[in-house]
């Protein structure tokens, strides 16, 4: 189970893997995610979005950024090796129908979960405008795949190394100002980006769906670690989400909650970097 069929490095710290998970591949729908664990004794469980799936091959595609110990260790694994635990598909699938024009905003690694949603929206007959943002050109992922689905494709980079030098909210605002305005916006990326996308679309009353990647343990509603405040009500991202109305999410609370273990994790991350540097040094010496 969970054999890595293929692995590809998409940028400095972003990797794509195809995993043999036939049950998940068969059931998953756009918007859903998995929880993955590398070591059932002492490993942590991390939620990862599903970027694509092939039910015939029985595989799912995950795209992840190396940000902590588990993602670093996952990136070190090679095709042919197995991942001990993959649970899914979790969360409510994206609500897909023919809305008209859908503007899809993806920031950094957020383009990965956006991809199946765009695919679904396109297949439902929507006109698709894609805005992709990243710090710099080498961090843009899935460009060919997304261009193939887009009626309009806009790239923004912070450093101006590719496309427009601006934040994604600038083209998003321009699109909202068009007549007719878009019927729906979908924004997936860092919480701060989703927050400002929601603020951009709010004055235009363009419904905006965001997908929240919260801290989670079980992913089935049991722990409540993923709780978020949506319209003043407590919701669990794992079973009620991960997608919510961006105009109602309390992003400030979300961002604070995501930092809950920052101190511990910085320490662990530092340790894990040290370990990989040491092993690198050892290899050089041999």
């Amino acid at each position: 189970m969970n054999i890595i069929l293929a692995k590809k490095q998409l940028s400095d710290d972003v990797f794509m893997m195809r995993l043999a998970c036939p049950h998940i591949a068969r059931e998953r729908l756009p918007g859903q995610f998995v929880i993955l664990q590398l070591d059932n004794e002492f490993g942590e469980r991390i939620p990862l979005t599903i970027a694509d799936a092939d039910p015939v091959e029985g595989s799912i595609t995950i795209i992840f950024q190396t940000v902590g110990k588990t993602t670093h260790n996952l990136a070190d694994k090679q095709a042919g090796e197995a991942v001990q635990s993959v649970l899914g598909p979790l969360g409510q699938p994206t609500h897909i129908e023919k809305f008209g024009t859908v503007v899809c905003v993806g920031g950094g690694i957020g383009v990965a979960p956006l991809h199946p949603i765009v695919k679904g929206m396109k297949a439902a007959g929507n006109r698709i405008i894609i805005i992709v943002g990243a710090r710099s050109r080498n961090l843009i992922i899935l460009e060919d795949e997304m261009r193939a689905l887009a009626d309009e494709y806009i790239v923004c980079t912070d450093d101006g190394s590719y496309g427009r030098k601006c934040l994604v909210t600038e083209p998003l605002k321009e699109i909202c100002e068009r007549t007719p305005k878009p019927d729906l916006a979908v924004a997936i990326g860092p919480p701060i980006m989703m927050k400002f996308c929601a603020e951009t679309t709010r004055p235009f009353s363009v419904s905006t769906v965001v997908s929240l990647n919260t801290i989670m343990i079980d992913g089935t509603g049991m722990c409540g670690g993923c709780r978020v405040s949506v319209g003043g009500q407590m919701k669990f991202a794992c079973v009620d989400g991960p997608e919510f109305d961006g105009h109602k999410v309390d992003f400030n609370n979300l961002m604070q909650r995501l930092k809950a273990y920052r101190k511990v994790e910085d320490h662990a991350h530092h340790k894990c970097h040290l370990e990989s540097e040491i092993s690198q040094k050892e290899k050089e010496l041999l």
């Binding site: 469980r45 899914g88 979790l90 343990i217 079980d218 407590m234």
Partner: protein, 496 residues
């Protein structure tokens, strides 16, 4: 209560047994009543506050035998009436009283599948031991025969000496049953159905089986190796286990019946949806459901700071809101994670606390501070959204309510602040909505509990349910009783 050392308790029992053995005439009821109750040896509170090893160390063989000899062997056996699975309690105590511990274990296993677990976590003081004639005669349930401690002893002995016998399994019938969840209700169903020769496949969402026995009840109260041994026994019987498999998502319940060839399904998914208090500040950083806190500590082993990747929030002052066993587990876990002060805040008085008396006593021995007739009204945070304190309100006892308990009444204007770095909400669980939401036609109550008939059958054909998903949050033994009933119905259905 002062702490008695293991050595002292062992010696006292050994001396007592020597005296009893020298007797020629059979023991009279009066003699039995005079035998002192055998106290459970426990780790010294000062030591156990900083480790996760089991608190209760278990009886010595002499203690088990002496305690068993206290049983009056009542003809009407009121204790059995108090046992949800109707174990022949006088029967097994009689055997254990002669030193035949294996015989005692065999008798228990005719009715109960998990004696090592139940001996530890059953609330015997409100079940078998509450009805015990000896306790009544001596005017204290604390002086009843310690049925649970003897049960634990004989079951541990069997397991530790490798004498566990695989149950006899009838010839394969070719029928197949899916069991969803791997907690106590599901374990019971799996074993009872498999014994009849049907294939059984269990589905667990987590990466390890055991449900609440694994993620909820801490190591220091129920060592995980015991739960694992129960699963090894099920696997040896031929039960197939799928971990990381969540029915409703990885596969729909109806697909199990319609496409995957299962003849019946049992739902035992438990009460896994934590309740919060719906007060201001509950989403602050540092506020946790007891489920999350305990899962991090138990299943994810966050207490092992060096090896575990899963972090756990650690601060000097920790408050637990609630007064049940889960609240005690969370508070005692916080102590072991190094908290300087752990406070339990409960709205009523100690008498009304749903936690077992023994758990409350252990918590007190470990230095946990109880604030009774007090309730949180608001959680207060700093500019980073981290919890810094609880606004509490004091209560007093008013007139008795319909249940006869004196109702706590708030004292207006008594608000004050307790500074806290962590708050754990342990006020219970609702039923997990995942299966009802993804299974059309499955009838539930307005609280989301699955509705079953007297046979444990749901509104859907060939679908049964039991345990906390039906009862709401209850106990291990009640879940097992439910499982037993549903298993009997499934076996009946598959005869046809």
């Amino acid at each position: 209560m002062s702490h008695h050392s293991f050595e002292d308790l062992a010696k006292a029992a050994s001396d007592e047994l020597d005296v009893l053995k020298k007797r020629v005439a059979p023991l009279t009821a009066r003699d039995r009543m005079a035998i002192p109750v055998q106290e459970m040896p426990t780790q010294d509170p000062a030591v156990r506050r900083r480790n996760v090893q089991e608190v209760a160390m278990g009886y010595t063989p002499e203690q088990a035998q002496v305690e068993s000899l206290r049983c009056l062997q009542c003809k009407n056996a009121p204790c059995v009436q108090g046992c949800p699975v109707r174990i022949d309690i006088p029967g097994f105590l009689k055997a254990a009283g002669t030193g035949d511990f294996q015989g005692a274990c065999d008798i228990i296993k005719q009715s109960s599948l998990l004696p090592s677990v139940c001996g530890r976590v059953c609330p015997q003081e409100v079940q078998c031991q509450e009805n015990c004639t000896l306790g009544k005669a001596l005017k204290s349930v604390d002086l009843a025969v310690s049925i649970g401690r003897v049960e634990r002893y004989v079951a541990d002995l069997e397991r530790e000496t490798g004498k566990t016998k695989p149950p006899v399994i009838k010839p394969e019938t070719g029928r197949k049953v899916a069991v969803i969840g791997t907690g106590p209700a599901s374990i019971t169903v799996a074993a009872d159905v498999r014994r009849e020769g049907h294939q059984v496949e269990m589905f667990e969402a987590f990466h390890k089986p055991g449900g609440v026995l694994i993620y909820g009840i801490p190591e220091f109260r129920l060592p995980k190796r015991i739960v694992q041994a129960e699963f090894d026994a099920l696997t040896a019987m031929g039960v197939k286990l799928h971990t990381n498999f969540v029915i409703g998502r990885t596969r729909k319940l109806k697909a199990l019946l319609d496409e995957d060839g299962f003849d019946a399904v049992f739902i035992g998914t438990g009460a896994g949806l934590p309740k919060f208090m719906n007060i201001e500040g509950e989403n602050l950083v540092g506020v946790f459901s007891a489920n999350e806190y305990l899962t991090r500590a138990n299943l994810m082993k966050a207490y092992d700071f060096e090896r575990a990747d899963t972090p756990i929030y650690r601060t000097g002052k920790v408050a637990v809101l609630g007064g049940g066993n889960v609240a005690m587990d969370a508070a005692r876990t916080a102590v072991r994670l190094g908290a300087e002060e752990v406070h339990v805040i409960y709205r009523r008085t100690e008498v009304e606390m749903p936690a077992r008396v023994e758990e409350i006593a252990h918590a007190k021995e470990e230095g946990i501070i109880f604030h009774l007739l007090e309730n949180a009204t608001r959680l207060i945070g700093d500019e980073n959204g981290c919890i810094t304190g609880i606004e509490c309100l004091r209560y007093e006892l008013g007139e008795p309510d319909a249940s006869g308990r004196r109702r706590p009444v708030e004292i207006k204007g008594s608000e004050f602040i307790r500074e806290m770095g962590t708050v754990i909400v342990a006020i219970g669980n609702d039923s997990n909505p995942l299966i009802p939401r993804t299974t059309e036609g499955l009838a539930t109550t307005k609280w989301g509990n699955i509705i079953v008939d007297d046979a444990g059958k749901t509104s859907l054909d060939r679908v049964f349910a039991g345990g906390d998903i039906v009862l709401g949050a209850a106990t291990v033994i009640l879940a097992m009783g439910e499982g037993r009933r549903a298993a009997a119905s499934i076996n009946e259905l598959l005869k046809k």
